[in-house]
Symmetry: C2
Subunit: 339 residues, 2 copies
Amino acid sequence: MRQKITLKHIARELDVSISTVSKALKNSEEISRDTKEKIQAFAKLYNYKPNNIAISLKNKRTKNIGVIIPEIVHHFFTTVFRGIEKYANKQGYNVVVCISDESFDKEVINMEMLANGSIDGFIMSLSAETQLKNDYNHLKEVTEQGIPLVLFDRVTNEIQCDKVVINDREGAYLAVQKLLKSGRRKIALVTTEDYFSVSRERTQGYLSALRDNGIAIDGNLILKLPYMDVQEEDIDSFFDGNEVDAVLCVNEIFAIHCMRLVQKKGLRIPEDISFIGFTDGILSKYATPRLTSVAQHGEEMGQIAAKMLIEKVESEEEVEVYRTEIIESTLIERESTIN
Amino acid sequence: MRQKITLKHIARELDVSISTVSKALKNSEEISRDTKEKIQAFAKLYNYKPNNIAISLKNKRTKNIGVIIPEIVHHFFTTVFRGIEKYANKQGYNVVVCISDESFDKEVINMEMLANGSIDGFIMSLSAETQLKNDYNHLKEVTEQGIPLVLFDRVTNEIQCDKVVINDREGAYLAVQKLLKSGRRKIALVTTEDYFSVSRERTQGYLSALRDNGIAIDGNLILKLPYMDVQEEDIDSFFDGNEVDAVLCVNEIFAIHCMRLVQKKGLRIPEDISFIGFTDGILSKYATPRLTSVAQHGEEMGQIAAKMLIEKVESEEEVEVYRTEIIESTLIERESTIN
DNA sequence: TTGTATGCGTTATCAG
DNA sequence: CTGATAACGCATACAA
């Protein structure tokens, strides 16, 4: 087993000083051609690579970025992560990922673990529990220490930092417009509890689209489902109790569930009832019928978040100005709606 | 902005030496109660946390593990990652993820980036291109440097290291058995090119199940699809050209595609034709009909991989014995098959 | 009980 | 052109 070789080894072997080796390997003008060649050849032969940890300690820069997301087995977060990783990698950064598992405590623990020198900045999306508790002290801690932070998708106004979100309200608005234009009038909304920032926004979009079109809002047509562990009975009784000709769901899982049950009841999609979902993940593409969906542009979101973060990390001056990037959402029309 | 505080700061502030502070914070017996209390109180007040990088440099242990996977927007890898992250986190390790994007070059670059001190060991699944080229020098490099490596799912015999795979052959065998037991005789296999280790194994299982049951093997019933960018026409003509009453697909995407087309042709699933897929991801669960599937137990696989790796990382003696853990695959029966 | 010195691997400054 | 030294933050063997 060939041990990792260090500057010291090379220096000893070639009978020069460590600093000479260091300079030679950086092709410094200070060092004579002969010496450089000798050292470089030796280094190459033994496959010398500088130790990242030592460099990090010296530079106080790790070239690592920390990503904390609520869940990874979830298409949207996965695409965002992809965008982050792609951009970060191109800039020579590595990505360390922690999953908060929608838990406040894990989110806090993970942040603290990483905040002690392991990373140069954070990209994160808030856990459900954090949003519910509305407690953001761990984020404050971190930003006060001067560690850059970029929040995406699930964000909060309580924290001053860069953010990137999609225009959720607009997305919902567009979706409802689309449904109205195709003649639908009894449009239901299937959403989560209000403490999710995205659900709130989407609900707003839904409501204002109806309002702008002079449609009375019927509270009975809004179904709130738990974020996890959807009970089919809840959906079932909702559709039994209401006459509905179109449904907007705040995520694709809800949409798939609803479509299945509604089809079981003998309704045809989209002839009898239209469906539009959010997220536009793999389920939307492969559902039967294929689901019309508001795309969240996860990968783009990730790239932008990474770009914002790295800019902050690499900017010398402590700029105290924070941006919120809003990505326009777009409607991907498929088979679950009519024109 | 409160800067990160170090031992040196505390020492200076309290007019003691750095080592006294260091020991006091470790509650060393050497230090007097008074001094300890004073130092600990001060440290707590200023929220002192040791710098991970410095500790890594000192200990030559980063408490980071590197994960290199071909793709993250893919349910199986995502569940494996979940398992890795869960276990690693519990043991105080962080996970840095790189995506090879099925590219040999990216795999190599990522490994080299991480092998220079950033991580204590690797967990990886080979990229498609790597398997195609059959070139594993980058893995050899790393293992020769004494960096522990665990391969999962997409593995190779060329490298001596710990491995964890599912019993793909057995899984396929069981699936075919199931189909035979329900009276099916014209069983098709939809697979990828041979250079994927998993496809090879699954094909073996398919063939031996047929053989063991005295069914003649019909090469026409084996459809090889490209791993990416499936062309629906290929599937279409396959089903037009062959009479088939059951299909085993080596992944769920293939299965979904086939089911959709077959249904379009007017066949009923499972009455006319049965389907079994591999992976058992989100698509299998939400397909119509729900897809019977060979579960790959991704999370378990990830946990085991992480456990194996951390054991190696933490074992002092250089044990030159490598294990291959084989996880039994199980058949999840749903609506796409009959009894 | 406390402090000094040394080292982890690297780079930068300054002296020779 | 080359090398000694200090520093990054921490831990520890050893000295006082």
